[in-house]
Subunit: 202 residues, 3 copies
């Protein structure tokens, strides 16, 4: 079940990478690479920092094959059908919180404490999107978007707490993902965001 959710998260992020490439009129091959990087970037950074190498998708190539296939299909159909933008945003919110929670879990399993586990969770959730934005030459959306990273952080913290309280891992995971997912949708609907931090030396 968890494994399938994980693969679902990968697919969603791959789609968002391909669509970002389309906005910059990249060539189709570049679009597929951007799809892959967005889908796998977060987990890759987490594994490199934790020293858990080879990284997860080298150990289990299903992840990268799925990224390629999803990117390819997105490329083929995105201009034919009117892509349901709302569905994508909802799915992206789901992937964000799911990856954050899975990142916390992997870090706990490797024996790390609260700070590192929660930070790794957040990184797993947001790093793919950051890389996507850097490669398409934009200031990463995470630095401007409604509570994006904040929500990855909150989901990770909640999951860490449920694990510490010995609540069943499955239940803790469901609760944490649902919390982040709900908050993100609420933030999007209400256009909630933190106030800008503006510093200009005169």
């Amino acid at each position: 079940m968890l494994y399938w959710l994980d693969l679902f998260g990968v697919s969603v992020f791959a789609i968002s990478g391909v669509l970002a490439a389309g906005k910059k009129q990249m060539d189709p091959f570049g679009a597929i690479i951007l799809g892959i990087v967005t889908a796998l970037g977060g987990g890759t950074l987490r594994d490199l920092l934790l020293g858990s190498t080879p990284v997860f998708w080298v150990i289990n190539p299903t992840y990268i094959i799925l990224s390629i296939v999803t990117s390819f299909i997105t490329l083929l159909i995105s201009n034919k059908i009117k892509f349901p933008y709302k569905v994508l945003v909802v799915a992206d919110a789901f992937g964000l919180t799911l990856f954050a929670v899975l990142g916390v879990q992997k870090s706990i399993m490797l024996g790390h404490g609260a700070w590192i586990s929660i930070i790794m969770g957040m990184l797993s959730g947001v790093a793919g999107g950051i890389t996507r934005d850097v490669l398409s030459n934009e200031i990463p959306l995470i630095f401007r978007k409604e509570l994006y990273a904040t929500i990855a952080l909150l989901s990770g913290i909640l999951f860490y707490v449920t694990e510490s309280l010995n609540i069943s891992t499955n239940l803790g995971m469901i609760l944490s993902v649902l919390l982040g997912f709900g908050l993100r949708l609420f933030a999007l609907k209400k256009k909630l965001s933190l106030p800008r931090f503006d510093y200009r030396k005169e």
Copy 2:
């Protein structure tokens, strides 16, 4: 022989990095760093992802010394002599396919299968150029250039096939590099490229 070709590829990419820095009027020191990053970036990413650390140029410093020396010489002479641009493009095409094939070989040696080996080969060929472009604040050329990554992919696939068929490694390598090299020159001459992928949400 292979080792010398490898070093030749490193030099060529170092030159391309330094010239990119010159187009942005960087300082000479920055230009040398960009030369190094372009020359060693692809192999470095490959080694990090495969968990083959310390990375290759830490184990054998010849690579980074050569990158520094080549970058330095390029800096000294590039404004004195009229740099033969065509020679550079041809050499770059050679480096691209050579690095792709060497990346596949290293992955096979480390015991990885078809998908991972071919993807690592492609990454080895293109990642140095991507990093060069990100650091000089441009959308990476790979996302726009004539069949660039496609050719790294095709060379890698051909080499993987010849290895699987137990054809001599040297012969397989020569064939794969020549195929990619020829295709790349043909694509440049005919200005072949994939059609742009254009996606704009209205």
Copy 3:
């Protein structure tokens, strides 16, 4: 003593990252992430390339906790008080050379030779700032700023020489940091810089 200097360097770089975020009107959360990346980026790259994983701040979370706390405080006070810009520049010069020297020391301890140790020292000093600039979508300052990377290099070389001559590590470290620190302040005061490298194909 050394450990406290190291933590001081981390704090200084965190502040510079947060202020860079403020110039781009990022959200507060993004600003904190930029502070962390600037503070820990150099040492992280060094550890990844040397294969010394998990990276240093995963092993000792004090570093990342300090980065977060410093970034948070900077955020709170930077618009209230007039931030002493000169103090920041001086502290940044200190962090640059200190990190370079510490990078050389870690590489020597891991058994690497002169080239690798000195290059790793330079990377440790400058990589955090490069990442900060890439994430805020600018050409990294290192490629334009007065003798910035050159000074990290010189400090690293001097420290390597003092270590090779069996001069006491503490003395060598103090000398190398002071040399780089003094040079950097001199370069800033005199607005010294290397001549631009300008290459344009017509």
